[in-house]
């Protein structure tokens, strides 16, 4: 069972221009150049080494992530990386951590749902990371069903404050990344109650920890939800729980772009249509589809290269064994996954265009295409993430027993990827949104 010691002969067989294909995969020459530069910048820095993650304890993993995140932030500033470069740089760090939630959820939530005054107050602090935020929506008892959230935000006109409260154990915020140990602030979703009337779920900016000593503020109970699936990567993240005991925040910390509560406690629905909220969802899900292609490509890259290196059976008279990639059974399982990686890449590209189109239409108060965009991003998120998690596991099996070794990269990739099937909406529930839209059509 002697393997090839290099893949040069495989590369010589190629019938196309690989460098041009790299541009097609990246989307443009400029996108390729940025991605190539950022990935090499990360790879050449020893702080971002990942090789020992499997043997670290939970605490070591967490602290190591803090170290990497701090180093990344330092480099981003020192090298004056653009927003686009920073996003890609963090992506290639390949280390789930609080930075992800701060930049991908907390900051966008304020940008999308905050008033101009709120943006002026909070964004400079968040952009400099003088406050670190997360996005506390799901609760112990409520995931996909956001309308069922139990946390309350009751307006007290006497003090001009909201009283945040967790009335039950199931109302505990549960899962938000960065919430457990790092975040100083959170965008919290709670049922808005004014004058005894429930106005449904709204977002609030809430300070959780003291900015001097990082201790939780009185009335806040906060912690980590415990060890997650898999050995390394996601256990570097402090997914947290949060309970409020009649915790008070000023009225102006309700995100009021879409609706307001006046000093007198009057609820004023906004003239900005609620459909705008769907625009954000389209954006998040579009990113998830793009990430599906990246994860699928990663697994397929490993399985393809190893299938070309690995030889099994087929030797006659002491000759060399057959490369497993030459077996039709291997091709029948591997090549559709390779094709899927490219397919998801291009549909992700199209979704990016769709998001831009929807955003432009929303700005012109044209909501006609929003239901379709919302339904198809939900369905594509569901379909691509399910196919990708199944595909990663298939790639592990395509590598034979060695695929089960941590150093194959596949177990950790699987463990990090599978949550995509349940976050931002359970995949089956999301597919039903498509069906409902189809039935309507």
């Amino acid at each position: 069972m002697e393997g090839d010691d290099n893949l040069a002969h495989e590369r010589n067989k190629a019938e196309f221009d690989v460098n041009e294909m790299k541009i097609v995969w990246a989307g443009s020459r400029q996108a390729f150049e940025v991605s190539n530069r950022m990935s090499r910048l990360v790879a050449s820095d020893p702080v971002f080494d990942k090789s020992n993650r499997a043997v670290m304890t939970r605490k070591e993993l967490f602290k190591n992530t803090l170290r990497k995140s701090a180093h990344a932030w330092k480099l981003i500033n020192e090298l004056r990386l653009s927003d686009e470069e920073s996003v890609i740089f963090k992506y290639f760090m390949d280390q789930p951590g609080f930075l992800d939630l701060h930049w991908r959820m907390f900051v966008p939530a304020i940008k999308g749902q905050g008033t101009e005054e709120q943006k002026q107050k909070w964004l400079p602090l968040a952009n400099k990371m003088q406050i670190i935020g997360c996005y506390a929506q799901t609760e112990l008892g409520h995931g996909s069903n956001v309308q069922g959230l139990e946390t309350t935000a009751t307006f007290d006109p006497q003090t001009d404050q909201f009283i945040l409260h967790s009335p039950t154990q199931t109302s505990s915020k549960w899962w938000p990344g960065g919430l457990g140990k790092v975040s100083t602030h959170a965008v919290v979703y709670a049922r808005l109650i004014t004058n005894g009337k429930d106005h449904g779920v709204h977002g609030f900016i809430v300070q959780l920890r003291d900015l001097d000593d990082h201790s939780p503020l009185p009335g806040i109970t906060i912690g980590d939800i415990g060890v997650k699936f898999g050995n390394g990567a996601y256990n570097s993240m402090d997914n947290g729980f949060l309970m409020f005991d009649k915790f008070r925040i000023p009225r102006d910390q309700m995100l009021m772009r879409l609706s307001k509560v006046t000093r007198e406690g009057k609820y004023v629905p906004s003239d900005v249509p609620r459909q705008l909220m769907y625009g954000t969802m389209v954006s998040v899900r579009q990113t998830i589809v793009s990430n599906a292609s990246i994860a699928m490509a990663r697994a397929v890259c490993i399985a393809t290269r190893y299938s070309a290196v690995r030889r099994q059976f087929g030797s006659q008279n002491g000759g060399i064994e057959t490369q497993v990639i030459d077996y039709k059974t291997q091709q029948n399982r591997l090549f559709p996954l390779l094709a899927s990686a490219y397919a998801f890449r291009f549909v992700g590209e199209w979704l990016k265009w769709l998001y831009t189109d929807v955003t432009q239409r929303l700005e012109a108060s044209d909501f006609a295409t929003l239901p379709e965009a919302h339904a198809c991003t939900a369905g594509l998120k569901s379909m691509t993430t399910s196919a990708t998690s199944d595909g990663i596991e298939e790639c592990r099996k395509l590598c034979g027993g060695h695929g089960y070794l941590w150093c194959s990269g596949l177990p950790e990739l699987f463990a990090v990827y599978v949550p995509a099937c349940t976050y931002e909406g359970d995949n089956v529930v999301l597919q039903l949104q498509v069906a409902r839209f189809l039935m309507k059509t």
Binding site: L7, K13, S39, V42, A43, I302, T304, Y306, I325, F335
Partner: protein
């Protein structure tokens, strides 16, 4: 359903529903394996299957007095209809990509192979849907499989280069098996020797737990 085309025309990804009359009754004109490389024929098969599954759900929903109760009863079928619609979107966007300007020697050809592998593999995997909706015949399904095998052979010499095109560093891949240089086996050994269990030849716990067995 027959009146679909007379109402407000569906747009975007559901535009094909505007051709309901045709798609509900058409028969695939695939005659030989190579026909499965015709984008219009592939698209029509996916559109007809998606539409027929959606229409079947709609017809079944009608049988319930309460639509919400019907929806709840038909959840599993509705999920399948949703998936068929989404697969159509992915296939159609891949085909649309091929119609654009793609530079580089042989690049478009490789992408075409990948596109049809993706589409024909879906047909193979969801054959029950395609056959039960009478979108294609068993013979046409068999031709699809033949074409798929041929595409695998064409892809084979390009497989490693196609994954090189992802441009992933060894750091990002984090995989001994997927190393760029293919130098897998010596590196697997190196990794094994790094394991804390290999810090000593005789493991911790030998004297407490293993030796008493052996020395019984």
């Amino acid at each position: 359903v027959a009146q679909l085309s007379s109402g407000k025309a569906p747009a975007g990804t559901t535009a094909y529903m505007g051709r309901a009359k045709h798609l509900l009754h058409c028969h695939s004109s695939i005659r030989k394996a190579e026909d499965w490389l015709n984008p219009a024929m592939v698209l029509e098969a996916f559109e007809a299957r998606a539409l027929r599954m959606a229409v079947s759900c709609a017809n079944n929903l009608k049988k319930f007095e309460n639509q919400e109760q019907g929806f709840s009863e038909l959840l599993a079928d509705l999920v399948e209809a949703g998936i068929a619609h989404c697969q159509l979107i992915v296939v159609s966007k891949f085909i649309a990509k091929l119609e654009g300007d793609i530079k580089g020697k042989g690049v478009k050809n490789q992408l075409k192979n990948l596109c049809y592998i993706y589409a024909l593999h879906l047909i193979h995997k969801h054959l029950g849907d395609f056959l039960s909706t009478n979108t294609i015949t068993p013979e046409q399904a068999s031709l699809a499989n033949n074409q798929l095998r041929s595409l695998y052979s064409q892809l084979r010499p390009n497989a490693v280069a196609l994954v090189d095109a992802f441009d992933y560093t060894d750091h990002y891949l984090g995989s001994v098996l997927g190393r760029y240089d293919g130098n897998v086996y010596p590196k697997l050994f190196e990794e094994a020797l790094k394991d804390p269990l290999n810090d000593s030849v005789v493991p911790d716990g030998y004297h407490e737990y293993i030796r008493p067995f052996i020395k019984q």
